[in-house]
Every structure is written in structure tokens, then in C-alpha cells.
Symmetry: C2
Subunit: 322 residues, 2 copies
């Protein structure tokens, strides 16, 4: 994939009205990237709609500009409002409401290797850890507005998608960028406290329930737990509170693949998978119509939970034996 | 405090035999700093004894050079072997065996604000997050040997003492240093996996026990749990496995102070305290002869557990009300 910063930069300068999107069930990189680009474009004097299928979840309300992000409007926006999709490997993940507009994004900026480039203008750099890192390079290469609020949003995107600079794909460049973001005014410890130490008590209880449910198979190579509405009710939490839970059971050194199964509606079962390195969980997810990265992937399937569970375990075993 | 890199650099160049130490109950910064300096001095052709009162614990055996670190020898070393204390605020924390030698360290390199400078040569920089960062600045300022193994040890010191670049005192400079260490050959994701994702199954069970015991007081401003020999036996763990446990209960946003109480012998009760920022836990620890930092401190006391627990809670309440 090419990374045509100049082309994207020109496009942003040439147009006046934008809508910035990211994927459903947004994480720190989705929100951080959306708000960083939104604030950057606004600083250029543009009229920007920042939205997401899920609106703004509580956990990321501390992000600068978060109060201006809205749930995706049901009505399609004006034809001259250019649409920018961020951090979204597959256009379908922009959400039902967006697809009701029957439009294709004009620009597609991402770091997911599975992103096939669904927009007329694509900027996909698959070997960087976060879309925020792609945006940082774009902003700096094109001399676009850059300030403490933009830096803070990019920092959160970079920090959360690297698991606080721990995961694969974190490079010397990622640390250099972090240093530059901090110099620009991002407060690393404040932001880290907001990202990683601002859980509700319910989230702690949810972790405890997850640990109590966790099973280890095959000498601890596979570990997993289940979540459902009962668990959420007992702990006063929701699906929004699951970020990082799976990493807690992945910390055991024997674990090659960790996953969690979530059953909260009649129709779908969700599976989130993490790999230590040997197993490509994106390949496993793809058997069930899912996607993601080599080391982190997800499935949303209509298969019955038990069948999906057995299938995923069988697939992991096959991959481990390969 | 001054940070006389030149003086320390000259001292290292002028002498031929060294013993490098850090504090008892060593953490990633203690081991990382000890091994980084040891490898650096050996690369200068020096004869270096790397030791610690606790020897090398399992959890940090992945560090380059770890196989050459020994438990502090009972016999005092030769008079011409210069002694370097790292990351040790109070000389007493070098351990009983060392004090049996009846010698004072020749060099004292540290980042603890409470370090009063107990050696003839002191290099204490209290506003940096890790002794590894002090050593990095010394090595670079004095052009001492620097390679992938040294960088990896420094990276682990910096990463673990900042909680993977999350805690207060992490600065743009810390990220710059991390970038330089990675360029020098430290693998950030491999090292992070070793530091944060290589727990035993027992450690996960220990976390579960800790969460089950955790109490929240005063609308969740105070949280704490207990550990003792029974818990360690049930989970197949030991005191070595507690690193990071307290941070798990500190992640709840209401929590201003989190602490854990550990009772594993007849004589002493240990308390580890963490603060979100409002409360200076070093002050609280100092009431009981303990020490540390403003946001992380520890106590080792002969008071009965219940009395110490009540006292610490009362002190935290007083500090919260101030």
C-alpha cells in the first residue's frame, strides 16, 4: 500500500466540510484518531462532524473534543461533506446507520493489514501499531495544525493500541512519536491514568468474575472465559467495560492463545482472540467471517455459542500443532 | 543533589575491580540497573562482581547477564574492589550480608528523593522515574560502552519503574531514552512480554485471591487486601510474585490510596502503599520507619498486623481529610 500523505494533505486543504468516522465498538485508537483529525481540521477552519455508530462512551469522555463527538446521524450528510474513515479495516464496521446513507467514504486512513482500500483515497500503513501513528506522520509530513489537544488524542490512540507500548509493532519510532507528543503537551501520566487506572468498581468485579470463569486447556496453552448479560448485571457493567480483560488472562506465560466469548443477544456470539505470537488469530477469525490482526482478532457469529466455542478451540489446536 | 557524571565516569575508568549491588527484594529497575552497569564495566575490561542479597529471582532470569549475578557473598570482598550501590535509597536496604562486611559503598547512584547520599560519591537525580534513566544519562554523557544487552537491561529498568511508561515522572525524555534503547537493540515487545506477560498460572490465581479479599473503604477512596503464607501455598506462589498486584486494585478510579498487607513471618508485617496523587504515602510509611516515593512506599514493621492496619488506615484518612 502506498501512503500518499501529500494527496491526503491536499484533499484536506481543498475541501471545507468533513465527517470523520471510525469503527463500531470504538477503542482508544478509534476515538483518539477521530478527535485528533477533527481538531486538526477545525484548526484549519473546516466544518467537521465527528461521529461514531456508538456515540461517545463514558470511558473516553476525558479526550479533548469528546463533547463534540455525536452518534452517527440517521440522515445522510450533505453531498459536499467529505467522509473520512479512520481505523476501520472493513467499511461494514462503520456501522448500520452509516451504511443507510448509501455512501462510500472518500478517504480511508488505517493501519490494519486486512484493509483492502475501499475508498478512492487510501492511506494504509500496516506495519505501524496504531492509526494514531499514521495520522501523526500525516500531520507532521503535511505541516497540518498540531497542538496539545491533538497530541493528547494521538497519544491515547498510540498508547492504547500498543497496550502502553508493550505490544508487537511498537518500534523506536513509536517511542520517538510519543516523546514528540509529550513535548507538544500530551501529559503521559495523566492520560495513562485516564486510560488504565480509571476503571469503575464494576470493572474490577468483572475482572474477578472473568478470572473465576477462566479455563486453561492443553497445559495452559489455551485460556478463555465467558461473559453474558448475567455477569454484566451482577457487576453493574456492560460490554463497554471489557477492554483489557482478555490481556489479564493472556499474561500467563504458557498461554499461546487467549480468548473471551460474549453472549449478550439472541442473534450473535462474539469472540475476541489474542495470540502470543505462534498462532495467527486473524486466520482463525476469518473462518467465521471475523477479522483483525495476526495477534488480535475478533468474530461476530450467528453460530450457537457451544458450537463456536468448540470450533475455535479446534482451530487453535490445529494452528498450535502446525 | 548534583549529578556528577564526569566524577563517576572518572572513578569507573580509574579502578579495575567493582562490586555492583542494589536493594533487597529487587525489582526490574534494581536488576536491570545492576546488570546494565555490570555489562558496561565488563565491556571496559573491568572485573565485576554483580550481586544482591536475594540473588537472581526466577522472574528476571531473562535479563542479559542474569546468569552472572550471584547472592551477596558472606565474606567481604577485597579492599580494592570498589562498591557501587544502585537504586537503594537507604544503605540498610543493601541487606544484612552486605552490612556484615562493615563497609560503606564507594558510589551511590539512585533516583529516590529520600536518598541522603551515604557514599563518598553520590549521583542522585530524584526527578527521573528510574535508576536505569540515571545510568543511561551517565553512560551516554561519559561515552561508556553501550550495546544491545546493556540497552535491554536499561529498558527493563525504565519500563518496570514507570509501569510501562504510565506512572508519574514519565517524561518526553523517558520516551526519547526508550527510543534510543530500542535503536541500540532492546526489543520493546519481547522485553515487555517477559516483564508483563510471563506470569505463572499461580500468579493469576494469586491475583484472583487478592481481588476476592479486597476491601473498599470510604466510598472506595481506600482499597486493600492481605497476603499470607496460606494464600501463597494455595496458589503455589511466594512473595516474589506480588509485583503489580496492588496496581490491579489501584485501577479503580475512586481509589486514592491502595495498599496490601503481607504477613509471612512471626516478626514482621509488610505494607506496600500506592497513591493516586493526593496523598503522600512516603510520609505515611515514614511514621512506621518505612520509605519510598510520594506515590509508592513500603513499611516493614514489628507491630501486630491488626494494629498496623488500623494505624495505616487512620493515617490515610487523616491525609485525605487534610
Amino acid at each position: 500500500m502506498t501512503s500518499p500523505f501529500k494527496t491526503i494533505g491536499d484533499f484536506l486543504r481543498q475541501h471545507d466540510k468533513f465527517a470523520v468516522f471510525a469503527h463500531i465498538r470504538p477503542d482508544g485508537d478509534a476515538y483518539g484518531s477521530t478527535l485528533a483529525l477533527t481538531l486538526c481540521l477545525r484548526a484549519m477552519g473546516k466544518d467537521v462532524l465527528a461521529c461514531n455508530a456508538d456515540g461517545m462512551i463514558e470511558r473516553y469522555r476525558f479526550l479533548p473534543g469528546a463533547d463534540t463527538l455525536v452518534a452517527t446521524p440517521v440522515e445522510a450528510v450533505e453531498a459536499d461533506r467529505k467522509i473520512i474513515a479512520l481505523d476501520t479495516a472493513d467499511q461494514i464496521r462503520l456501522g448500520k446507520v452509516f451504511h443507510g446513507w448509501k455512501r462510500t467514504p472518500d478517504v480511508n486512513i488505517d493501519h490494519h493489514i486486512s484493509n483492502a482500500g475501499y475508498a478512492p483515497l487510501n492511506c494504509i500503513i500496516p506495519d505501524v501499531p496504531a492509526t494514531a501513528e499514521v495520522l501523526y506522520e500525516l500531520i507532521r509530513a503535511e505541516n497540518l495544525p498540531f497542538n496539545a489537544d491533538i497530541a493528547s488524542n494521538l497519544f491515547v490512540g498510540l498508547s492504547t493500541d500498543t497496550g502502553s507500548f508493550r505490544h508487537r509493532q511498537t518500534t523506536a519510532r513509536s517511542f520517538e512519536i510519543a516523546a514528540d507528543l509529550v513535548r507538544a503537551g500530551a501529559d503521559p501520566t495523566d492520560l495513562a491514568q485516564q486510560c488504565y487506572s480509571s476503571f469503575t468498581l464494576g470493572r474490577l468485579l468483572l475482572l474477578r468474575e472473568a478470572l473465576n470463569d477462566t479455563q486453561f486447556l492443553d497445559d495452559g496453552k489455551i485460556s478463555y472465559f465467558h461473559l453474558n448479560n448475567d455477569v454484566y448485571t451482577r457487576t453493574g457493567t456492560s460490554s463497554e467495560d471489557t477492554e483489557g480483560l482478555i490481556e489479564s488472562i493472556q499474561m500467563v506465560k504458557t498461554v499461546e492463545v487467549a480468548f473471551m466469548m460474549e453472549k449478550t443477544d439472541e442473534e450473535f456470539t462474539r469472540v475476541s482472540l489474542r495470540s502470543r505470537g505462534k498462532v495467527d488469530v486473524q486466520q482463525i477469525a476469518s473462518h467465521y467471517g471475523g477479522g483483525g490482526h495476526r495477534l488480535a482478532a475478533g468474530i461476530r457469529s450467528k453460530l450457537p455459542l457451544a458450537e463456536l466455542e468448540a470450533g475455535v478451540i479446534a482451530d487453535i489446536r490445529k494452528a498450535l500443532a502446525a
